[in-house]
Symmetry: C2
Subunit: 244 residues, 2 copies
């Protein structure tokens, strides 16, 4: 299914025109974020998933840099620590969900526990299925019990573009710090990763996934800015009147 | 001492020219932050203190919004929770200090425990002095044991301008959510606050305080951007070469 979805913008889309629109969207988002913070009724959780080199960091830089840092936080999830492994897999996630009024970005997330964990056969299908059920219940809890809106993004990169990105980390001095030889080993497992992602999209879809074509930075920034603006706008927020 | 320091920019300073310079500084800071993150050797802790209405939130918005959210976090310290009160006063602070590679903004801080706590006579001078000693040791720990650079900012507002700011919260619909009648009660204790601040500047100065004249937003943004740029630049950072 994923391989049938284009990883690039439609040919007809004008790059400069789109960039201008993105700029407008970012201004709107900045105002809406201020309102989100002032009203303090909702929170927004943006979950960013994707293969190595699919531009998760770049997306955060391009779309979320213009947001007041008082209202936004990011959390990157790497391999769990010893302490974290002594708890259920959602324990370390739960402590980082956004409080009311705030936007939280998850750079990777609890989905790794049904992706990398599955690809490497640290868990079998039965455990994976039970984890996915737990994830659905967890996301429901956040939505229904604390006014959290969840935006799930899959950074859809082509295998060819991924190779380019990973290679760049060996040649561009400003990107060498990102180089990790394990990324190349993981990249070999591409097909299995795609299978596991597709299973996630099918089984964890009470909150829908957005597949973001990501070979071009300007296009992915535009799509995500649009999604975020629409999400915030739908909350129909108001500045609160004077209290006490 | 504080009352002798101007809360406004020197008359000779050109506003538009300064704004342009600030923009340049923010671009430089954005690049330096990327390097801080990539190098991962140092962290930066910015402590922002000041009276109600002195523009702490505004400063964060004006100077820190252009920084990639992957590299910056903010923590606002309000009245301690019941759990926090069962620990020493630095316990809740310590868990939020920045990890290597990151910038952390403290919107208020451990200094409240020798300011509001003292003004309201929840503690006497002896406890205040012991707390200030503990603060000095704590800041030394961060600097010497984790490469943290600490930037301490006092938002220096005039009493007159403070009154304007607090009044605006009663008339500007976009600011009413900030209105808190207690702010007016606190404002009555102005002189005692100034005394306690001056004591802090004298006794907690192993890391120096920067007094930021804050009646004009453009001037305070410029000063803080300059400080931050200089602080980051002095770290003399390098992009790491390829590891593993």
């Amino acid at each position: 299914m994923l391989e049938k979805i284009n990883t690039r913008a439609p040919e007809s889309l004008d790059k400069e025109e789109t960039k201008k629109k993105t700029k407008e969207l970012l201004k709107e988002i900045s105002d809406l974020q201020n309102l989100l913070y002032a009203e303090g009724k909702h929170s927004v959780l943006v979950i960013i998933q994707g293969m190595d080199g699919s531009g998760k960091d770049g997306l955060i830089k391009d779309v979320f840099t213009s947001i007041n840092p008082l209202g936004i936080n990011t959390q990157s999830f790497k391999a769990p620590t010893e302490e974290e492994l002594k708890h259920d897999f959602l324990w370390r996630i739960h402590r980082h969900v956004p409080e009311k009024g705030k936007i939280m970005l998850f750079n990777r997330s609890h989905y790794e526990d049904v992706l990398i964990a599955r690809v490497h056969e640290w868990i079998d299908d039965e455990v994976a299925n039970r984890r996915m059920e737990a994830i659905n219940a967890f996301e429901k809890l956040l939505q229904e019990h604390n006014g959290t809106v969840i935006l799930k993004l899959y950074m859809h990169i082509s295998r060819k573009e991924q190779k380019e990105q990973l290679k760049e980390r060996m040649t561009n001095p400003e990107k060498m710090w990102k180089y990790n030889k394990n990324d190349f080993i993981e990249a070999e497992k591409w097909d299995r990763y795609m299978e596991c992602y597709e299973d996630v999209f099918e089984k964890c879809n009470t909150v829908p996934w957005h597949i973001i074509p990501t070979d071009q930075n300007w296009y992915k920034a535009y799509l995500v800015a649009q999604l975020l603006r629409d999400t915030l706008k739908k909350l129909d927020m108001q500045y609160p009147s004077m209290k006490n």
